[in-house]
Subunit: 414 residues, 2 copies
């Protein structure tokens, strides 16, 4: 029989094993619908089996491992514990998978100690949260939470491969995805254990913290159009250089992001054309991603960036094309579940801090069908979406203890 | 018999006819080694034939039309008049071809009026000046001027097609190109009539001007490396955003370019990675192209940009990788030829202005074997390398009159 201490070591090892499932040698790159993703899912299912869970896969490709309720319970409900097993390009090894592996480990420990609850536990392994391949958000958890958009089946990846084909590669039926929604009456709640992806826990010297809310984001795609021209012959004063306008906006976005506590503002992509060293760029395309947990501050900052883009375009005689992209309102975690989680943290002798999440998570969609909360785990230097992503085994053990204590507390409340 | 007035109209019509030779429907895109280029060459050869020129093609694919000297001359030398007939992607219709068409027109007019000189005139039609396909400079005129680099035969285009194959597609022998150099003792000079590609003649309300020099350029490729990270979770103060550093440099380059008369400085390409809207860019790549006719000013400005790049990297904790790219020294046009050209301009009742060229031209290579000069023709709004490239027929007529008067003057000096 293993202790939670042993299980923490297992999780570190399993994180390394999952990291080997990649489409790009030497990286961790595991997009939706690839054979690397399928192989990772098979591995997760095998580990679920070892923990005495029955497994099933839904049409979008999510994997669920079910640990049944105690036999006295009639028509028991389900508590979901989970994460995602797709990754961004050149990712770290803990983002997403930690929620699945901690779920499996706690179930295995419960099974080893002969404990069952008056509800089933299902470990949900979502097949696509990052959305890197089809430029979606929460592709995996959306159908589960009743938020599947039928129009998505017409999506294609950058290589022109239809989403339908990716769905079928995972064994699903694109037409049946809409029927995979979990009945909200059957679900007690959802919790995800996730690396913090920020530096606060390291700064505060704490292993874990509860998440009180997930920040909202406002996003835009922005195009400046000027006039392409010969880099040797058009005098500086006569130029309408789209890239120079875009560069001004990049710096304006950075300044806006720094203007308020907890605000972050990012230009993640910038492309210019024609794109030759001896031609003045006539077009520049960039994206804005702006986040703050408070919608008032978020919207004011967004309007500020837009006003600056308009001023830049005006001053430089550029045409501006500003397109609002899909945005997300903040998701407030369930007060009662989060209070229970904070009590579990305190029960392990850890200061019960609450953080907001700056990143989006499947809890956003899952909140559509059930109460949600999250447990953050300290990660080194706040680095994530990067091969340097790193966590400590001792913090994973703390997370396991808190998660198990939390589930006992939820069971005690019933 | 046609007048030069008639020939100007012919040139306008022929420019339109050449524009139809393109690899991309709806554009003028005529790279080296394509069937569009071959068809354009056949058309030019036909027009040379109409002007009583004998034609030949060299191994790199250049076309030469020879109008013989008067019969009294023993072992006559040659005066070269020319331009190029390849184009950039989505080009205008006058860049390069105007030098060939004005040469053919003046020879035809001389032939119609029964005039020959104590030297032969050869109209040189260079097969590649822009270098768009194989990322070369002056591929056509280099072997003519003894500047062929044998290593070039190993070049490939972006699709992996070897230069050798493109050479053979034009009927040349890749191994024999090095032997196509014209004996410098046989050449009296080279003149190219070219659109200005800048706004000065329009501003000064002049149809043509002599070119005193071709500007030199300094170029670099620059990379900033920071740290990729999650756009939602890394606080602004902890970021090492490579794109933000690059944006600062884009604006610094623009400011340096504006700091001196006749200086131009351009960032024509900028790419950042990983390149997702929700990831802080960890890398940014950009190019610098900086030109001024005076090497002292050019080098001082270049050093200034580099110092700013270093300061940006230092301040933002970015790594900077600065690579000098091949640069070009300025080419000073031959003083005596250019004086003769200015006198020809004045002889036509036009203020004899001298300009420098901000763009590179085959005169740079041709200066290796003979005295060179150029005649610029006004173009609308300075627009070039663009479908909107536009010139007036009346200015073409002025260029023809100046070019013919110039050749008479050269003949009179012998």
């Amino acid at each position: 029989m293993s202790t939670l201490h042993d299980h923490a070591a297992t999780i570190m090892r399993r994180s390394d094993e999952l990291a080997a499932f990649t489409t790009v040698e030497g990286q961790i790159t595991r997009p939706y619908g690839t054979s690397a993703l399928l192989d990772a899912r098979d591995q997760l299912a095998a580990w679920m089996g070892e923990a005495d869970m029955s497994t099933h896969v839904d049409n979008v490709g999510n994997l669920f491992g079910r640990y049944e309720a105690d036999t006295q319970s009639i028509d028991p409900k389900t508590f979901l514990v989970g994460g995602h097993f797709d990754s961004v390009v050149d990712a770290g090894r803990y983002d997403g998978t930690l929620g699945i592996l901690t779920g499996i480990a706690v179930v295995q420990h419960l099974n080893e100690t002969g404990r069952r609850f008056p509800f089933a536990i299902e470990v949900a392994a979502f097949a696509d949260e990052e959305g890197n391949r089809f430029h979606t958000s929460f592709l995996g958890s959306s159908p589960v939470a009743g938020l599947w958009d039928p129009a998505w089946v017409t999506l294609e990846d950058d290589a022109g491969t239809p989403l339908k084909e990716a769905i079928r590669a995972l064994g699903g039926d694109p037409e049946a995805i809409g029927s995979d929604t979990i009945d909200s009456g059957s679900v007690l709640g959802f919790i995800e254990v996730h690396i913090e992806q920020g530096p606060v826990l390291q700064d505060r010297n704490l292993p874990v913290a509860a998440v009180s809310s997930i920040t909202g984001s406002l996003r835009a795609t922005i195009e400046f159009a000027g006039m392409a021209g010969h880099a040797g012959t058009v005098p500086m004063a006569l130029r309408r250089d789209a890239l120079a306008g875009a560069a001004e906006l990049v710096l304006a976005v950075e300044a806006v992001g720094a203007s308020e506590t907890d605000l972050v503002a990012t230009v993640g992509t910038l492309e210019c054309s024609p794109g030759a060293s001896n031609v003045i760029p006539g077009h520049a395309h960039l994206t804005l991603d702006l986040r703050h947990p408070d919608s008032t501050i978020r919207e004011r900052a967004y309007a500020g960036v837009r006003a600056q883009a308009e001023a830049i375009a005006e001053r430089r005689s550029l045409d501006l094309d500003w397109t609002d992209s899909p945005s997300f309102a903040e998701t407030v975690c369930d007060a009662r579940l989060t209070k229970t989680l904070r009590e579990a943290i305190a029960g392990e002798g850890i200061e019960p801090l609450s953080l907001f999440s700056g990143a989006g998570h499947d809890a956003i969609t899952m909140a559509n069908i059930c109460p949600v909360t999250m447990l953050f785990v300290r990660c080194r230097d706040g680095i994530s979406h990067n091969p340097a992503e790193s966590i400590d085994e001792v913090d994973v053990e703390a997370a396991l203890r808190v998660l198990e204590r939390f589930l006992f507390a939820v069971a005690g409340q019933r």
